[in-house]
C-alpha cells in the first residue's frame, strides 16, 4: 500500500485545459472522491493516475516513486470502469484472474485468491458463467472482484455505479466502502452523484473546470461550503449577499435583502476590512419560528411540494424566493403567511 501524490498536474486536450495545476495528497488507505459536474476534469485526473494519459505538466507519485513514465500496464493500479469492461469472451473466473495471470502469480495462489474474493463478494458458483449471462449487479461485482484481487497499490473507480438502478446503487456503494476499509487500499473514486460522495468518502474533492474548488471531509463540505459553486452543487442552498454592519467577536450582524441576520462566524472569520460577504444556508436549517427565535424570516408560501417525510416550501420573502424544507407535519397551503428561524451556526460564509 502506498499513498498517492498529484503535484501540479496539468493535462490539456488541444486547447481545452482539462486538469489545471491540480495538487492532491491521498493518504495511505484513504478513500478520496473526486466530485463535480461533467467536464470538470475528474475522469481525466483518474485516467492520468491510471497511466492512460501523460500529464502535460506535473507529476504523479505512488509513495516516493515517480510514475509519469510508467505505462499503464506496469503501474500497480486496478480500475473499475463505468461500463465494467468485462472481457466478454472469458468466464467470470478467467476475468477475475486475468490481472493475476499478468502478474505471473502462481496457479495455486490464483485459485486461492479467486476463491476468497468470490466468497467476499457473493459470487460463489458463477465461475463458469460469461458476463452476458449475469445481471447488472453481478457484473459490477465481478468488475470489482477483478480489480481488488490483484491487491494493487491504488484502487481507481470511474463512476462504477451509474449503470445500476437506484436501489442497487445505494446497496453496492456501501459494499464497496466496506470492502475498501477491510483491505485498506488507497482509493480514488470519481462520481457526479453527491449523495454517493457524502455517504462513502473519507474526503471529498469538489472539482470544476479542472481545478479543486474545495477539499475536505463530507461533514465540512456539506455544512461549510466555501464557494457559491460548492454550496449549490452539494445539496440545496439559499444564497444571499450581505453587508456586515456589526461585529462582536465571532458574531457578525449582517444586513441582507431578505432580512438582518446574526451569524456565528467561528472558524470562518472574515478580515476586518471586508464589508460585503456572500453566504448560504441549507433549506432544512429553516425552522418554523416561535416567539424569541433568532434570525426570523417572514414570507408568503409560493409553492408547496409534499414529499412524505419532508415538505419543500418555496417562500417569497421581501420579494426574494427562498427555499425551505421542514419535517413539520402541518398541512401547508399556498398563499399562507409563514415565519422561519435560522440558527446562528447554520450559515456558511464564502471564501471566494
Amino acid at each position: 500500500m502506498a499513498n498517492l501524490s498529484l503535484v501540479n498536474l496539468t493535462k490539456n486536450f488541444d486547447e481545452v485545459i482539462a486538469v489545471d495545476n491540480l495538487s492532491l495528497e491521498v493518504h495511505e488507505g484513504e478513500f478520496v472522491t473526486l466530485l463535480g459536474p461533467s467536464g470538470c476534469g475528474k475522469t481525466t485526473t483518474l485516467r492520468t493516475v491510471a497511466g492512460f494519459y501523460y500529464p502535460d505538466h506535473g507529476e504523479v507519485y505512488f509513495g516516493k516513486k515517480l510514475m509519469n513514465n510508467v505505462p499503464p500496464n506496469k503501474r500497480d493500479t486496478a480500475m473499475c470502469f463505468q461500463s465494467y469492461a468485462l472481457f466478454p469472451h472469458m468466464s467470470v473466473a478467467d476475468n477475475i484472474t486475468f490481472g493475476l495471470k499478468m502478474k505471473k502469480v502462481s496457479s495455486s495462489e490464483q485459485k486461492r485468491r479467486l476463491h476468497d474474493v468470490m466468497s467476499m463478494l457473493d459470487l460463489v458458483g458463477l465461475d463458469k458463467r460469461k458476463p452476458a449471462q449475469l445481471s447488472g449487479g453481478q457484473q459490477q461485482r465481478v468488475a470489482l472482484a477483478r480489480a481488488i484481487v490483484t491487491e494493487p497499490q491504488v484502487l481507481l473507480f470511474d463512476e462504477p455505479l451509474s449503470n445500476l438502478d437506484a436501489k442497487l446503487r445505494v446497496q453496492v456503494r456501501v459494499e464497496i466502502r466496506e470492502m475498501q476499509k477491510r483491505l485498506g487500499i488507497t482509493t480514488l473514486y470519481v462520481t457526479h452523484d453527491q449523495d454517493e460522495a457524502l455517504a462513502i468518502s473519507d474526503r471529498i474533492v469538489v472539482m470544476d473546470q479542472g481545478q479543486i474548488i474545495q477539499l475536505g471531509d463530507p461533514y465540512t463540505i456539506y455544512r461549510r461550503p466555501e464557494t457559491k459553486f460548492v454550496a449549490g452543487f452539494i445539496g440545496l442552498a439559499n444564497i444571499v449577499k450581505g453587508e456586515i454592519i456589526k461585529r462582536e467577536g465571532h458574531l457578525y450582524t449582517v444586513k441582507t435583502p431578505v432580512g438582518t441576520f446574526v451569524i456565528d462566524a467561528t472558524d470562518q472569520l472574515v478580515a476586518d476590512d471586508v464589508k460585503e460577504i456572500e453566504f448560504s444556508w441549507r433549506p432544512e436549517d429553516m425552522k418554523i419560528s416561535q416567539e424569541g427565535d433568532p434570525n426570523t424570516l417572514d414570507g408568503i408560501i409560493h409553492q408547496v411540494v409534499f414529499m412524505g417525510d419532508v415538505t419543500d416550501l418555496f417562500v417569497e420573502v421581501k420579494g426574494v424566493k427562498v427555499r425551505a424544507q421542514t419535517d413539520d407535519i402541518r398541512k401547508f397551503q399556498e398563499h399562507d403567511r409563514i415565519s422561519f428561524s435560522i440558527p446562528h451556526h447554520a450559515f456558511s460564509i464564502f471564501r471566494r
Binding site: 501540479n8 496539468t10 490539456n12 505538466h57 509519469n68 513514465n69
Partner: protein, 293 residues
C-alpha cells in the same frame, strides 16, 4: 476557455519525447503503408494500361522499362476484330434483368427473414448462402445438364436465370438487414392510423429499405457482370460476356495486349461503382451483411 499557463523552467520531460517518437513512428508507418498500398494496387493497373497502349509496330519487351511508343491501335483492333462489342452488350443486357429479377424474388424472403420468427430460420439462412458457398464450377457443370434437358442451355433466358441465382444471396442478406432495421413502433403507428397492407408496403416498407436496396442492387449487378463459371458452361459459345471473352484471350492464344484492353474495359465500371458505394453508402453494410454469416 483559458490559455495554457507556462511553467517557468521545464526541461522536456521523458514522456513528451516518447509521445513525439510515437507520433513520428505512426506517420512513417502510415506513409510506408500508403506507399505499399498504392504500389500493390496501382502497379498492376498501370501495367495493364501501358500494355493496352502498346504500338504493335514497336513491340515492348524486356529489357525496356517502358513501351517504346504508344498508340490506341490495340483498342481499335480489339473493338474491330473481336467480339468484345457483342460481349459488352450481352453482359450489360443480362445484368439489369438479373438484378430486377433477384430483387423481386428476394423481397418476400427478406421480409420473412427480417421480421418474422419461424422455426428453421437458421437453416434457411444457410440455404440462402448456398450459391456463394457451393463451388462454382461444380454447380455450373451439373446445372448445365439440368438446363440442357429443359432446353435452357445456350439460351439468353437460361443465362439470366443463372445470373439471378448468383445475385439472390446478396440481395436477400442486405434486404434482410434493412427489414430488421425498421422499428416495430413505426409499423404499429401506421396500422394505428389505418394503413392497409398495400399502403404499408408502398409507404413504409419500400421507402425504408431503399438504402439497403441500393446496396443490394450494386452487389447483385457486380455479381452478374463478374459471373464466369455458369456463363462459361451454359452460354459459350453462343453467348459471350466480358469475363468469358477475357478468359478466351488468356487461354492458349494469350495476347497480352488484347487482354489488357478487355481487362480495363471490365474494370472501369466496377471502380466507378466502388466510388459510388463509398460515397453514398456506408461500407459497413457490406461488412455487416457478409460478416453476420
Amino acid at each position: 476557455m483559458t490559455e495554457v499557463k507556462q511553467l517557468k523552467s521545464d526541461p522536456t520531460p521523458l514522456h513528451l519525447i516518447i509521445e513525439k517518437r510515437k507520433k513520428r513512428f505512426y506517420i512513417l508507418l502510415t506513409l510506408f503503408f500508403g506507399l505499399v498500398q498504392l504500389l500493390w494496387v496501382g502497379v498492376p493497373i498501370v501495367m495493364a494500361v501501358m500494355w493496352s497502349l502498346v504500338d504493335p509496330a514497336n513491340p515492348w519487351s524486356f529489357p525496356d522499362m517502358f513501351p517504346p511508343s504508344i498508340s490506341p491501335h490495340q483498342w481499335q483492333y480489339v473493338f474491330k476484330y473481336t467480339n468484345i462489342a457483342r460481349a459488352l452488350k450481352t453482359s450489360y443486357a443480362i445484368a439489369p434483368i438479373a438484378v430486377v429479377l433477384s430483387f423481386i424474388l428476394s423481397l418476400p424472403t427478406a421480409y420473412v427473414m427480417g421480421r418474422k420468427n419461424i422455426p428453421g430460420k437458421k437453416i434457411f439462412m444457410l440455404v440462402v448462402l448456398l450459391p456463394i458457398i457451393m463451388p462454382g464450377m461444380v454447380v455450373a457443370l451439373f446445372l448445365s445438364r439440368v438446363f440442357t434437358s429443359f432446353g435452357l442451355s445456350q439460351s439468353f433466358f437460361g443465362l439470366v436465370l443463372a445470373h439471378t441465382l448468383m445475385g439472390i444471396p446478396y440481395m436477400i442478406r442486405v434486404l434482410t438487414t434493412s427489414f430488421q432495421a425498421i422499428p416495430q413502433d413505426v409499423i404499429d403507428a401506421a396500422e394505428n392510423l389505418g394503413a392497409t397492407t398495400f399502403v404499408k408496403i408502398k409507404d413504409i416498407f419500400l421507402p425504408m429499405i431503399r438504402p439497403g436496396l441500393l446496396a443490394g442492387m450494386i452487389f447483385a449487378f457486380t455479381a452478374s457482370i463478374e459471373e464466369f463459371n455458369l456463363t462459361f458452361i451454359i452460354g459459350t459459345p453462343t453467348f459471350e460476356t466480358i469475363p468469358t471473352i477475357l478468359f478466351s484471350f488468356m487461354g492458349y492464344n494469350f495476347i497480352r495486349t488484347n487482354a489488357s484492353v478487355v481487362a480495363l474495359i471490365m474494370m472501369t465500371p466496377n471502380i466507378i461503382m466502388l466510388f459510388i458505394v463509398e460515397r453514398f453508402l456506408k461500407s459497413d453494410y457490406l461488412a455487416a451483411s457478409l460478416g453476420k454469416m
